[in-house]
């Protein structure tokens, strides 16, 4: 063997500078994007906020609290949706799941007067069950998850509206006054820190927690390696002994659970649940993942990238407002960001995989 190792062919990889190494990571584009968006809206917001008469603009603590809140909410969804997308699947039902689980929480607390200790676990149990059903349907039918979860999205949203109206004759259900001081609900929506007018809520910790756990699972556990393998090629993964159905079903349960978490955070904050809550968030979560460097075709991506993507979404949303631009333009900017991100991703990927 020694003779063979002595005559080794040289490595086919050029030595790489640390900078190039960082530049070929999936989240690199999102990092540059986040810095650029911050600078652009920082400058625009600074110059125009004086004219608009706001107390502090985009760069103030109030501004930070504003975009961090938006980022945290979409980021909680984005983290689990990213894992699912790396495994090669979509979940278009997360937006409807926010509406459905929020309504279940409000109905149990408000209409039926149950304590939070019952209502919150029931909400999560419902979400996990629907998530498992999504996964089971995708595995069982072999159909694209895009179509299967589009179906469950319509069923969930329509069911939420129909059942809520049948039970309460309304589409908005308010929480009882006592919910404000419920310690369990405070765990999801308490105010963490208030500096002047800047309010930082506990959802920021939830966001950091979800991102940390999701990223740790992806990069540092066997299950994470399976996620990459399943997305890279489900058949290859099966042949090396990865339990493909289990991986996918668990990830569908995770996205549904993150939607329930979203609902448990926002419903007590607002004090009521609307049947239309969460509309469009399924796409925002996917945008977060893609801006963060995750491939639409699966097998490659980053949870940290999706957190940066969520930050970009939050900063853009609020930045446009502070810059005095009509917020109707938000979606236009979002679309441009998405297209740019896809282009950067394909470039980074070509670099990383050594393709010419």
């Amino acid at each position: 063997m020694s003779a063979e190792t002595g005559a080794l062919p040289p490595s086919r990889l050029r030595a790489e500078s640390p900078l190039r190494r960082i530049a070929s990571r999936p989240e690199f584009g999102a990092l540059i994007g986040a810095i650029a968006v911050f600078l652009v809206f920082g400058i625009l917001g600074f110059s125009s906020s004086a004219n608009l008469g706001f107390q502090g603009g985009f760069l103030s603590l109030g501004g930070a609290a504003g975009y961090l809140e938006l980022a945290a909410q979409v980021g909680i969804l984005g983290a689990t949706v990213t894992l699912l997308m790396i495994a090669g699947e979509f979940d278009l039902s997360v937006g409807a799941m926010i509406g459905a689980s929020g309504m279940i929480l409000a109905l149990l607390l408000g209409t039926y007067g149950l304590p939070a200790i019952v209502a919150v676990p029931a909400t999560f149990a419902f979400a996990l069950a629907i998530g498992a059903l999504n996964g089971w349907l995708v595995i069982r039918t072999g159909l694209p998850s895009f179509i299967v979860t589009l179906g469950t999205q319509l069923i969930l949203r329509g069911g939420t509206i129909a059942v809520t109206r049948a039970l309460t004759a309304q589409t908005i259900v308010t929480l009882p006054a006592s919910a404000k001081d419920d310690p369990l609900l405070k765990l999801f929506s308490a105010n963490l820190l208030t500096i002047g007018t800047a309010r930082f809520n506990i959802e920021l910790l939830w966001w950091l927690g979800v991102v940390f756990v999701a990223s740790w699972v992806l990069l540092r556990t066997r299950f994470g390696n399976w996620i990459f393998a399943v997305g890279g090629s489900a058949q290859a993964a099966r042949y090396v002994g990865v339990p493909v159905p289990r991986v996918k079903i668990m990830l569908f349960m995770a996205t549904a659970a993150s939607a329930a978490l979203f609902a448990c955070i926002t419903v007590p904050q607002v004090g009521s649940a609307n049947v239309l809550n969460g509309t469009g968030f399924e796409f925002q979560a996917i945008i977060t993942a893609v801006v963060g460097g995750t491939l639409l075709t699966g097998g490659y991506g980053s949870v940290i990238g999706s957190a940066l993507g969520a930050l970009i979404l939050g900063m853009t949303n609020l930045g446009i407002f502070y810059a005095g631009i009509n917020t109707d333009w938000y979606q236009v900017v979002l679309g441009l960001l998405l297209l740019m991100a896809v282009l950067v991703n394909s470039y980074v990927l070509r670099r990383a995989s050594g393709a010419r």
Binding site: A229, S233, A236, Y239, V240, V242
Partner: protein, 333 residues
């Protein structure tokens, strides 16, 4: 393996001396066959597999012993893939039995087969290009450390072992987190073979490992087939390329139309016979005949054209064409 390769005229690639000798042995039909004795490590006995009304396999048997390479040959659609999927636990046979070390067994899943030491390297699915070398090496069998909810994928250990194992197969990895997409086709196949060996495979099933590769890369893979054989693994080498099968095979199993078309030990057959049995022989003879006819027809056309050309005055563009040709030529050195 450390011997310098023997130069060999007309050899498609440089082979290790031992292999070259074995090729030479085919010319000399008197060379004694050397079948490996002992109980087969893996055996399929009279297995059949049907897909609806389609007969994919009918009464096919195959054996492989430790330290033996059994080449499974056959044209596309002969049933090679179905047979190896039965051997690697993807399908269960409708009839017939599988035996390991002479004991009957049922393979429940690919994982079950892997746990029993039957590792399969698929042509297209050998590795995952968007995953790093170390992640690929350990996918499905990740080393872990810690306990309970803190049990985690031991990234450092995985990287170290993967680098070490890649070095042993002759690929120097600067960075185990390098994506497998950066490796060449031959390197990817050898990575998959090295992985199977590392995880204690006793039987290595290689599904068309050389068919998508260039000459040099195929040589790399064949070298590792011989190496695995020397280590005492039973190797089932699936190919439709007789030139790749002959130098490495101890035993040849030929499938045609889902049935066994012949079984030989080394020295009993030559290339033409193998081709004929695979069902491509007649077609190739026919093709050669047709090509001959076409060529002679072509030759006539060229002759006619030449006669016509004499009448045509020399083209004024000719000097220009010469210059262009010169420009196209690469500079010397």
């Amino acid at each position: 393996m450390s011997n310098p390769p023997v130069p060999h005229d007309n050899a498609p690639f440089t082979l290790p001396s031992e292999t070259a000798e074995r090729i030479a042995a085919y010319g000399d039909r008197a060379a004694p066959a050397m079948p490996v004795a002992g109980t087969p490590v893996l055996e399929a006995r009279d297995v059949s597999k049907y897909f609806g009304r389609v007969i994919a396999l009918e009464d096919v048997s195959l054996t492989v012993r430790p330290g033996e390479v059994n080449c499974l040959l056959g044209d596309n659609g002969a049933g090679k893939s179905t047979l190896i999927k039965i051997l690697s636990g993807v399908y269960t046979p409708d009839k017939g039995t599988l035996l390991m070390d002479g004991q009957e067994l049922t393979l429940q899943s690919p994982r079950d087969a892997l746990d029993r030491g039957v590792a399969t390297v698929y042509q297209d699915l050998a590795v995952l290009p968007l995953m790093s070398i170390s992640r690929n090496f350990f996918v499905g069998s990740e080393p872990t450390k810690g306990w309970g909810p803190f049990r985690r994928f031991d990234v450092g250990e995985a990287g170290r072992i993967a680098t070490e194992q890649m070095l042993e197969i002759g690929i120097r990895v600067r960075d185990p987190s390098q994506l497998v997409g950066t490796l060449s086709g031959g390197e990817r196949q050898t990575l998959a073979i090295a992985r199977a060996e590392y995880f204690g495979a006793r039987v290595l099933i290689l599904d068309e490992p050389t068919s998508a590769l260039g000459v040099k890369e195929a040589a790399i893979v064949l070298r590792h087939v011989i190496r695995a054989r020397a280590k005492g693994l039973g190797v089932i080498f699936i190919t439709h390329n007789v030139q790749h099968a002959l130098p490495v095979g101890d035993r040849f199993t030929i499938l045609a139309h889902g049935r066994l078309a012949g079984e030989f030990v080394r020295g009993q057959v030559n290339q033409d016979e193998l081709l004929r049995l695979m069902g491509g022989g007649e077609e190739l003879t026919e093709l050669a005949h047709e090509l001959d006819q076409l060529m002679s027809a072509d030759a006539r056309t060229v002759e006619e054209a030449a006669t016509h050309a004499e009448a045509v005055p020399t083209s004024p563009d000719e000097p220009l064409a010469a210059v262009e040709a010169e420009e196209v030529l690469p500079p010397e050195g």
